[in-house]
């Protein structure tokens, strides 16, 4: 009876484990696994929250205008400036973060700057990633002359002094948003293309690619259905790390006066104007700079977190810990079973 008791308890435990395991395993994809691991990473979760808050603030900017009644481009020479014509400090006359050099609400302008920065960050990264993945896949999959041409072109783009080109274009054609997006996107695909090409070269030798070919799959089906899913992890990490680069690039160009033009607010052109007032208005420099810093830092930390979460080695460590926990649980269950006798002890 005692033996069957152990067996029963043991079986129950195993069955429970198995049922739990099945429920968990069913349809769990790479993304679900990554998300589970990312949730354990406090820094990455914090970064993600910061980014989401920043996005919500940017989207909700008009709502704040409605609350403060301070449109982004409206100057308030009376309430918003000191007698000397300098910005007023935070908290003065309903200006939460003070005003800028022309007496406009700094908080509202930073929010509108976030809209521009994040928009440019996401759009250029999306364009650059799409282009980089396509070029990398084509170069890696087809190889030969196509690869040689594309790979050398990629190297040339990587070697190009892009700030100089951006400045030249802005001077020749005049600064504009589409031009800035085009320039940033053009210089962000190359590194992604290089990584994708390298991975494609390795993956295309796998037997499952040969299997797809033996089924009659064409090159584009193989590239986008068989190879691409295997590349999403490194591409996602790279893309996350590219967003802050694009945000900083936008700020740099705007700071130099070659990006977003006043009166449209951008973190870059706010900072440019703020440089004239840093002795009298610390908030004018601090808040836009902090917004830029926090945003880029959050994206970088999130990218690092995603990379860690996708690294198969981290998985193994976690899986080991999980197995150990499960074993302990099982042992505990057996220990608690009534009338347990040690095997062979009689």
């Amino acid at each position: 009876m005692s033996i069957s008791g152990i067996e029963f308890a043991g079986q129950q435990a195993v069955a429970a484990e198995a049922a739990e395991g099945v429920a968990k395993i069913e349809g769990r994809s790479q993304w679900q696994l990554t998300w589970r691991r990312l949730r354990q990473d406090k820094v990455a979760v914090g970064a993600l929250i910061v980014i989401l808050v920043m996005i919500v603030l940017a989207i909700a900017a008009p709502a704040f205008v409605a609350i403060t009644h301070h449109p982004p481009d409206t100057a308030y020479p009376i309430q918003g400036e000191t007698v000397a014509g300098n910005p007023v400090p935070p908290g003065t006359a309903g200006f939460w973060l003070g005003t800028d050099g022309t007496g406009r609400d700094l908080f509202i302008r930073i929010l509108y700057g976030a809209r521009i920065s994040l928009f440019i960050g996401f759009v250029t990264t999306a364009l650059g990633t799409a282009a980089g993945v396509t070029v990398g896949l084509i170069a890696g999959y087809f190889g030969g002359v196509i690869d040689t041409i594309l790979a050398r072109f990629t190297d040339a783009v990587l070697a190009f002094p892009y700030v100089v080109l951006a400045l030249a274009l802005a001077i020749v054609y005049g600064p504009s948003l589409p031009e800035m997006i085009a320039v940033i996107a053009f210089f962000s695909w190359a590194a992604i293309a290089r990584v994708v090409r390298g991975q494609t070269l390795a993956i295309k030798e796998k037997e499952y690619i040969e299997a797809a070919r033996s089924l009659g799959a064409g090159p584009f089906r193989i590239m986008f259905i068989d190879i691409l899913p295997n590349l999403l992890a490194p591409v996602l990490v790279l893309a996350t790390l590219y967003i802050p680069t694009a945000v900083v690039f936008e700020a740099t160009l705007s700071y130099l006066g070659l990006g977003i033009q006043p009166p449209t607010a951008s973190w870059g052109n706010i900072l440019e104007d703020a440089a004239n007032f840093y002795t009298v208005a610390w908030w004018y420099v601090l808040f836009p700079a902090a917004a830029l810093l926090i945003t880029t830092l959050a994206f970088n930390l999130l990218g690092d977190g995603i990379r860690d979460a996708m690294d198969p080695r981290t998985e193994r460590v976690l899986a080991g810990a999980r197995r150990r926990r499960r074993r302990t649980k099982l042992t505990a269950l057996v220990d608690r079973a009534p009338g347990v006798t040690a095997p062979g002890g009689n």
Binding site: G27, E207, A211, S214, G216, N230
Partner: protein, 348 residues
């Protein structure tokens, strides 16, 4: 030597040659040599039968399989499927034949895309050939999964959630999807545990009976090939050295290489193993870049004579053999001959 094609022949391979160029690295890549992977191979695959292809690593078995499957272009020769030539076809031209010829791969881990769900993997043939979509595709995939002994409920799982044997079943289901006439099995069980090997082999033989499949079965395990094959071909350095019905090749091998291979295979019966003469081959398999003159086996052959290094032996029926049993050797092994004791004459 050519084989008359008749309605019972599914695939004819005639004088198939596959050389891989050896190039220097760098910007200007000169061809400095050729790897003679498959050199003048002729054989046929009968309808509904299994042809076993045995040989050491590097003997050209897998290259031959890929040439027949149209995965790599051939250097010269001809492959015909049910009378129509399929060698040298474009990808588009090859498409209708892809439905007829499928492959099962050696590595059950490498042959399935780790990022795709099993349902999508097995459904690929339907998607690529546009034969079924949506709910109909799912129904057919689940039917296939059931047929190969997988739980259809596991439709949405990833390959990593299956064992090696189960994965090989997934590979079989995928190969079976378009109801092909020929399945090329490239060492389908060599990566599996012995107990699992038997299950997969039995599945393959059940499927053969149910669907009238022909198999080209490649393996280096002689026992596995003996178990599944109707006809056996032995390859050495890109050439077929002996070919014939399974019982004849295993029972009365004529080529010294076949004899040596058979003597090296472990026997299940220790008494038989003890009484058997083990033939030890000397030396290494020569480089396929520069294969030996004459008979390619002559540098390692215990029976080699000066003639062997000069003239290449043809694959032909030897005196006293059945008309289906061909051997490429000038001095075929006679019944009862003890090769292990054969003195090796000096070669020039």
């Amino acid at each position: 030597m050519s084989i008359a094609a008749d309605s019972d022949t599914l695939v004819m391979v005639e004088n198939l040659v596959k050389y891989f160029p050896v190039r220097t690295s760098g910007l200007i890549r000169r061809t400095v040599g050729q790897v003679h992977a498959v050199d003048d191979v002729t054989f046929s695959i009968p309808r509904g039968k299994t042809v076993g292809l045995v040989g050491e690593t590097g003997s050209g078995k897998s290259t031959l399989a890929r040439c027949i499957a149209g995965l790599i272009p051939i250097t010269s020769g001809k492959v015909t499927f049910e009378g129509s030539p399929i060698s040298g076809l474009s990808r588009r031209g090859m498409r209708p034949f892809r439905r007829e010829i499928q492959m099962i791969f050696q590595d059950p881990y490498g042959a399935l895309n780790p990022r795709r769900r099993v349902g999508a993997i097995i459904g690929d043939p339907f998607a690529i050939h546009g034969t079924a979509s949506g709910a109909e595709r799912k129904r057919q995939v689940q039917e296939l999964m059931e047929r190969v002994g997988l739980n259809p409920e596991h439709y949405n799982r990833f390959p990593s959630e299956f064992s090696g044997g189960q994965r090989q079943r997934i590979g079989v289901a995928r190969a079976l999807a378009l109801r092909p006439k020929l399945i090329i099995c490239d060492e389908p069980v060599s990566a599996l545990d012995v107990s699992i090997q038997a299950q997969v082999l039995n599945l393959l033989s059940d499927l053969q009976q149910d669907f009238g499949l022909s198999y080209l079965f490649i393996a280096h395990d002689l026992e596995v090939v003996r178990h599944v094959s109707d006809v056996v071909a032995v390859m050495y350095l890109g050439r077929i050295v002996e070919r014939g019905p399974q019982d004849l090749v295993y029972g009365s091998a004529r080529h010294p290489y076949t004899t040596a291979l058979l003597s090296a295979a472990p026997a299940a019966d220790p008494d038989a193993a003890a009484s058997r003469q083990r033939i030890i081959l000397t030396g290494e398999v020569p480089s396929p870049i520069d294969p030996p003159s004459g008979c390619r086996f002559h540098p390692r052959c215990p029976k080699a004579q000066p003639l062997c290094s000069e003239t290449e032996p043809l694959l032909e029926v030897k005196a006293g053999d059945a008309a289906t049993h061909a051997t490429a050797c000038h001095f075929p092994v006679e019944a009862g001959e003890n090769l292990a004791a054969a003195g090796r004459s000096e070669l020039p």
